[in-house]
């Protein structure tokens, strides 16, 4: 039987040794013949209680990994060890530990058990920025985390959010709650195949059995059809978006953007609008591109203008609006120009009052990391065009999953709304003034999350019940911000930023369209 190898990782002085000292003395821990290999030499002294201690300097590991593996193998054969602990160096990639364990001298002898990330809350944010991808990779590889220096539930939550930027769903325990740690430690890992099948099998069974019973009150068939319709339409564009975004990330250097891209918003805005026109993609594609632009150092106001203008200004959208409204050129122009004006204004509000807190969801920590896409394993070592293309594919794939999950949720919500009919919206505003009708229509645009190339037809079908101004509100605001966009943005950006952007876009679109309608407007 292979010996389980439990690993403690984290920065130097994060408290790894202290954690081991405390944990191994825990009375509830089973008695076992333990060997502890320590690849880190911090300030704390290892007590060595209830185990045999083998310090291995990092120098030795770097210089002769084969020798280290053989030495470990010899120790394991010599003694009747039944549990191994490793204190892993905070600056060494976790992948190096995995290849160490896969070394011929050790393979078959031991297998990876629990990987515990130990962190000191006070030091973590300050350290992470200066240290390359190894710490991020360690955070991403651990099974659970233990944090010290956190005293409140709120503090714990904040810290958990920080780590979850790298390791979604990670559970974090406070160092003083030893019972929780022990429980987490002795829990069994469920097979990944089971974890995948557990939600799927009952859902499929339920669908097959319960579907006929649900209709008519729940239009399940219609929800499924609408969901698939929007998904099939969105996925190719999402793929285009993540591919372009990955090209920007991997082939365009930050320095290039720094030198070539106009810093001043007055020049940057036209560039953003032009870029939006040249990329005939809808909002599913512009959000991933927005993410990479921001990360590459494009000024935030310009990037925001790019993201909000792209779905309105692209030629396909213009054409479909033109046809849907019976060749009404003025209406189409009104939509495009109001969209451009609103996008520029939204961008400018972010130039006037730049966000004070970091806009990415992992806080300062995630913002400084090279990439959080899960392809950290050898991101730094990739050189040459072949390697870069491989990285591009992997990066695009990771981003597809990342943004895709929010797309799926958003589309599902919108499919449910559409299946139940939007009649409620229409009746909510009958007889109300322009402002109320506009608000209702814009809210509907937000909820329905239609693709910008198809929303014109839907807007046309409302023409009898709503004034042209309200339809414009729907067509200008809807593609900029809707449920699926908000969800896709929150995959990377802080709630605060997404909320500000949404409210700001709503207010500005409302204002521009309302003023336009007030001073003449356009007729159908």
């Amino acid at each position: 039987m292979p010996i389980p190898v439990h690993v403690v990782t984290g920065f130097l002085d994060a408290g790894k040794t202290t954690f081991l000292n405390e944990f191994l003395q825990c009375p509830e821990l089973r008695d076992a013949e333990r060997a502890v290999f320590r690849f880190e030499s911090g300030e704390a002294t290892f007590s060595g209680a209830r185990c045999a201690d083998f310090p291995i300097p990092k120098r030795e590991l770097d210089a002769q990994p084969d020798g280290v593996a053989e030495r470990m193998g010899a120790i394991l054969r010599e003694r009747a060890v039944d549990e191994i602990w490793i204190e892993w160096n905070g600056m060494t990639p976790f992948a190096a530990l995995q290849s160490l364990l896969a070394h011929p001298a050790l393979r078959g002898l031991c297998k990876l058990g629990k990987v515990i990330y130990v962190a000191d809350a006070a030091k973590l944010e300050a350290l992470a920025g200066r240290t390359g991808s190894a710490p991020a990779e360690q955070m991403a590889s651990c099974d659970f985390a233990v944090v010290r220096g956190v005293y409140t539930a709120r503090g714990l939550k904040k810290f958990q959010r920080l780590l979850r930027a790298f390791n979604p769903g990670l559970r974090v325990h406070r160092a003083i709650c030893q019972d929780d740690i022990l429980k987490e430690f002795s829990g069994k890992k469920l097979s990944p195949w089971l974890r995948f099948l557990i939600p799927i099998v009952p859902a499929v069974a339920l669908y097959l059995l319960a579907a006929p019973l649900l209709e008519p009150p729940v239009p399940l068939n219609k929800i499924v059809n609408i969901f698939l319709g929007i998904i099939l339409q969105a996925i190719p564009f999402l793929i285009i978006g993540v591919l372009l975004s990955s090209v920007i990330r991997i082939f365009v250097s930050g320095a290039f953007i720094e030198n070539r891209f106009p810093r001043h918003p007055a020049l940057g805005m036209p560039a953003a609008i032009l870029a939006g026109f040249c990329l005939p993609v809808c909002d599913c594609a512009s959000i991933p591109i927005f993410r990479s632009l921001v990360e590459k150092g494009v000024p935030l106001p310009t990037a925001i203008t790019f993201m909000t203008v792209t779905p309105v200004i692209n030629p396909v959208v213009m054409l479909s609006t033109y046809y849907a409204f019976g060749g009404n050129m003025r209406f189409m122009l009104a939509r495009v120009l109001l969209g451009v004006a609103s996008a520029v204004l939204i961008g400018f509000t972010f130039a006037l009052r730049p966000p004070k807190t970091p806009i990415t969801s992992g806080g300062a920590l995630a913002a400084t990391m090279p990439c959080d896409c899960g392809c950290l394993e050898d991101a730094e070592s990739v050189t040459g065009i072949g390697g870069k293309l491989g990285l591009l594919l992997r990066h695009a794939q990771a981003e597809f999953f990342d943004v895709g999950k929010y797309l799926v949720i958003g589309v599902f919500v919108s499919a449910v709304f559409q299946a139940f009919g939007a009649g409620a919206f229409a009746s909510a505003q009958s007889g109300a003034g322009l402002a109320a009708s506009m608000a209702v229509m814009m809210l509907m645009g937000f909820v329905l999350s239609l693709c910008s190339s198809s929303d014109a037809v839907v807007a046309r079908s409302f023409a009898s019940g709503f004034p042209p101004g309200a339809l414009l509100g729907f067509l200008v605001f809807g593609p900029m911000m809707d449920i699926k966009n908000v969800l896709m943005l929150s995959s990377r950006f802080s709630k605060r930023f997404v909320a500000r952007l949404t409210v700001c876009a709503f207010a500005i679109c409302f204002a521009t369209v309302f003023l336009f309608s007030f001073f003449g407007g356009v007729s159908l």
């Binding site: 995995q98 979604p168 990944p192 239009p219 793929i239 285009i240 394993e377 895709g404 939007a422 009649g423």
Partner: protein, 269 residues
């Protein structure tokens, strides 16, 4: 050492991702190739769907190189992103029919028929010169069609005929016509003695289906059950809707018909 012993453990996450990408790719390809995609999106999407299938296949291929790379924290939840659409595509469901389309969308006026259509078609004409709608032109050869030429609107030429009638109404006034559609009645836009033998038209995807068709004058319109399929025979006449001249049908007979499968795709520019 045997090859088996040298082989390292399979990385379940990469394996699952590979399976998802590969099956989604195959499914997208067969859906597009077989034409089944038309129940969800318009023909315009075909190249995009092939493109998506190709990228998915590429991703699956790239995954194959990483199958044996070890990974401690195995994630699976993200694989639901392709898995959910794959499962829903495979699980039984039927295309939407007349009764599924909520006219409630616009409080009853979702009917994109008359006004919107004629104007849209005029625009299409202007924008792109003479549109080629082969079939109607081929069938109607005589310009003296008014003498009782018979227009049999084939199911797959429904929209071309609709368009042709709007464009060259004067040519066809007085012609005999027969057309199959479901009975669409909308108290807000149609009178009590009017109905439309309609087909569902898709602009972008199945979420935006609206009925298309010609308004029929029929005294017994009230007796027709909405959403049932009928074959209408009658004479083309010039009617008016919202200030626009439009072709309508003076009904001579209405008989039950088999439902016609498939949607029409009016905005295939």
């Amino acid at each position: 050492m045997t090859a088996f012993a040298r082989a390292r453990a399979l990385n379940p996450q990469v394996c699952l991702e590979l399976l998802c990408h590969a099956s989604f790719s195959v499914l997208l390809f067969s859906l597009t190739h077989s034409g089944k995609y038309l129940t969800y999106v318009t023909p315009r999407m075909a190249p995009y769907l092939y493109f998506a299938a190709a990228v998915m296949l590429l991703w699956a291929g790239a995954d194959a190189f990483r199958l044996f790379r070890p990974r401690n924290r195995v994630r699976v939840a993200h694989c639901l992103v392709p898995a959910i659409p794959i499962l829903l595509l495979l699980l039984p469901h039927s295309p939407l029919s007349a009764s599924d389309v909520g006219y409630g969308y616009a409080g009853g006026s979702a009917f994109a028929g008359p006004g919107a259509q004629s104007a849209a078609q005029a625009a299409a004409r202007e924008a792109e010169g003479d549109l080629e709608f082969g079939e109607p032109q081929d069938e109607i050869t005589a310009t003296d069609a008014s003498s009782g030429a018979f227009i049999e609107v084939e199911d797959d030429a429904f929209y071309s005929w609709l368009n042709e009638l709007y464009m060259n109404l004067d040519t066809y006034v007085g012609c005999q016509i027969s057309v199959t559609g479901f009975v669409f009645k909308d108290p807000e836009t149609l009178a009590a003695d009017e109905f439309v033998p309609a087909r569902l038209g898709m602009t972008c995807c199945v979420a935006d289906l609206v009925p298309y068709g010609l308004v029929c004058k029929y005294a017994a319109a009230g007796e027709l059950a909405p959403d049932t399929w009928v074959k209408v025979r009658g004479v083309v006449r010039k009617g008016e809707y919202a200030g626009f001249e439009e072709p309508q049908i003076e009904v001579t007979s209405v008989e039950p018909a088999e439902p016609v499968e498939g949607y029409i795709y009016p905005f295939e520019y």
